[in-house]
């Protein structure tokens, strides 16, 4: 039995350290996602496709956020969201408790029409608390990770059905 650590120190000197990092995180993302999907299939084979689909979607975002690390605002926001969901489920596993928890969103009506920046903020996780400049940077990183995740899922889907 051997225990492997995610290790960047490798015996082989890499010609391109950036690609190593990229590859590392991609592999981590892949393995995490695959593991999660396998667990989902194992855990809830009888659930509806919708529920499983939603779980798989959460797994996708979780693996994306893990691969991106804590340095990004959006990845932290994603993980925080999942964590809160977790805590909520733990505290109130039954629906009976829910009636005491009504999250009231006090609606502050913005008279102006939502600008593009607002829309982007809504799309990118954690975007509400950033100024426009950082928002653009986070968007760039988010797009990168999203496309990686999409290609990963496409590969998985192809290898399963193919």
């Amino acid at each position: 039995m051997h225990f492997f650590k995610c290790s960047q120190g490798n015996p082989n000197p890499s010609p391109n350290p950036n690609s190593t990092n990229l590859n590392v995180s991609k592999t981590m993302q892949t393995s995490y996602f695959l593991r999660a999907v396998a667990l989902i299939n194992m855990a809830m084979p009888a659930s509806s496709t919708m529920q499983r689909g939603r779980s798989i979607r959460r797994a996708a975002y979780a693996s994306m956020a893990r691969a991106a690390g804590s340095r990004r605002v959006w990845s932290r926001a994603v993980l925080r969201r999942l964590q809160h969901r977790r805590e909520r489920l733990i505290r109130r596993p039954s629906g009976a408790g829910r009636r005491f928890v009504i999250r009231r969103r006090i609606r502050v009506s913005t008279p102006r029409e939502p600008t593009q920046a607002d829309v982007l903020r809504r799309l990118v996780p954690g975007g509400k608390a950033m100024d426009f400049c950082n928002l653009l940077e986070e968007t760039a990183n988010y797009i990168q990770c999203l496309s990686t995740q999409v290609s990963l899922m496409q590969t998985v889907a192809d290898s399963i059905s193919g």
């Binding site: 225990f3 990229l22 393995s31 798989i56 797994a59 964590q83 969901r85 977790r86 982007l120 653009l136």
Partner: protein, 362 residues
């Protein structure tokens, strides 16, 4: 200031966090307290010039500014002192105006953060000190703090010739250890502090937009912020919808399959053919030795570590992967967020090796 023609390019500090869009004029004077202008002309270092012609970067080395409150100016002064220690000949200025109002502090904080993030502190000190020397002489010349900035601006407008431009640029990169990013007003542009800050901000935004343009496919021809933003929004939305769709597809397909991890991984990896580090990574599919009751599920060969290519991964036999009920994973605590709870509870959750591994890469 015996050097009339020399470039006085500390004319503006670049405000990073433009929440208020204000720039303290006093910041400049603080900056110049510790510098002298004379040796600038004697500096002959070559520097890399930033892409934007409007910037001159002058970023004092900040040891750490994670102090809260009003210590920012303290650290600013310390940084100046620190860098000045190298030059024994030059007398240090008495002190910085430490008792500034919050306005300055806020701006300083913004600038410092930027300086830290953008520039590495790996520049040589001597040029920095010379630069500092230059500033203080200049400052002494001018006397009152309020006139400093305006006179500097005037001077630098005068001095803005191409020849001096080169020198400035060389100096700028050297002094990039400093905190501020000083912006030079181009010829014919307003030198108001607000407009300079605005211009800096706009430059940053356009730089980011260019990055995004490379990321989003098919955006080469699109010019204009509004249309670019539309494209970006559409692209993000389409990506998210794709994730949604693919996850539904996987959910529909999956129950009947025990998918081949190794196959998928090899595909994934071969898509991105890189050096052979892949095999050493992420495979806490391997077992955790102390928890030997979780044995027998997935065994990865230790030889994988030295495997230069993805073949090592393929040693994970499929049969071992299928009984995945007992995956000991360092990610279990994370997976709990994703997978329904009840299942995870059945697994002996391994809490020891939690984040020790994962954090390495991140």
């Amino acid at each position: 200031m015996g050097v009339d023609g020399d470039p006085h390019f500390m004319l503006e500090t670049r405000e990073v966090q433009l929440d208020s869009g204000m720039i303290a004029a006093n910041v400049d004077e603080q900056h110049f307290l510790a510098s002298a202008w004379d040796p600038i002309l004697s500096m002959d270092h070559t520097m890399s010039f930033n892409d934007s012609a409007a910037f001159s970067s002058y970023i004092p080395g900040v040891s750490d500014f994670h102090n809260g409150g009003n210590e920012q100016q303290m650290t600013l002064s310390l940084s100046f002192f620190g860098s000045k220690n190298q030059v024994s000949s030059h007398p240090c200025p008495a002190e910085f105006p430490l008792g500034d109002d919050n306005h300055n502090e806020k701006n300083l904080k913004g600038k410092k953060r930027k300086g830290e993030s953008e520039f590495s502190a790996s520049h040589s000190d001597p040029p920095l000190d010379e630069f500092h020397k230059v500033g203080s002489e200049h400052k002494k010349k001018n006397g009152s703090p309020d006139s400093t900035k305006s006179s500097k601006e005037k001077d630098e407008k005068k001095a803005k010739t191409s020849k001096h431009g080169k020198e400035e640029n060389t100096q700028n990169a050297d002094t990039s250890k400093d905190d501020y990013i000083h912006v030079r007003a181009k010829r014919g542009q307003a030198t108001n502090s607000h407009s300079l800050a605005e211009r800096v901000r706009r430059e940053k935004i356009s730089e980011r937009m260019r990055l995004l343009q490379d990321l989003v496919p098919g955006c080469n021809k699109i010019t204009g912020k509004a249309m670019m933003l539309d494209e970006i929004i559409n692209y993000v939305q389409s990506l998210q919808k794709q994730v949604e769709f693919l996850s539904m597809k996987l959910a529909a397909v999956n129950p009947e399959m025990n998918f081949d991890i190794e196959q998928i991984l090899s595909k994934e990896i071969l898509h991105h053919p890189q050096d052979g580090n892949v095999a050493t990574l992420g495979f806490s599919l391997g077992m955790n030795t102390p928890h030997s009751h979780l044995h027998g599920v997935i065994q990865a060969d230790v030889g994988m570590c030295s495997m230069p290519n993805s073949e090592g991964i393929l040693r994970l036999s499929t049969s071992q992967i299928s009984p995945m009920t007992r995956i000991p994973s360092v990610w279990d605590h994370e997976l709990q967020n994703v997978v329904p709870m009840s299942f995870i509870h059945n697994l002996p959750i391994d809490s020891e090796n939690l984040n020790g591994d994962m954090k390495v890469e991140m």
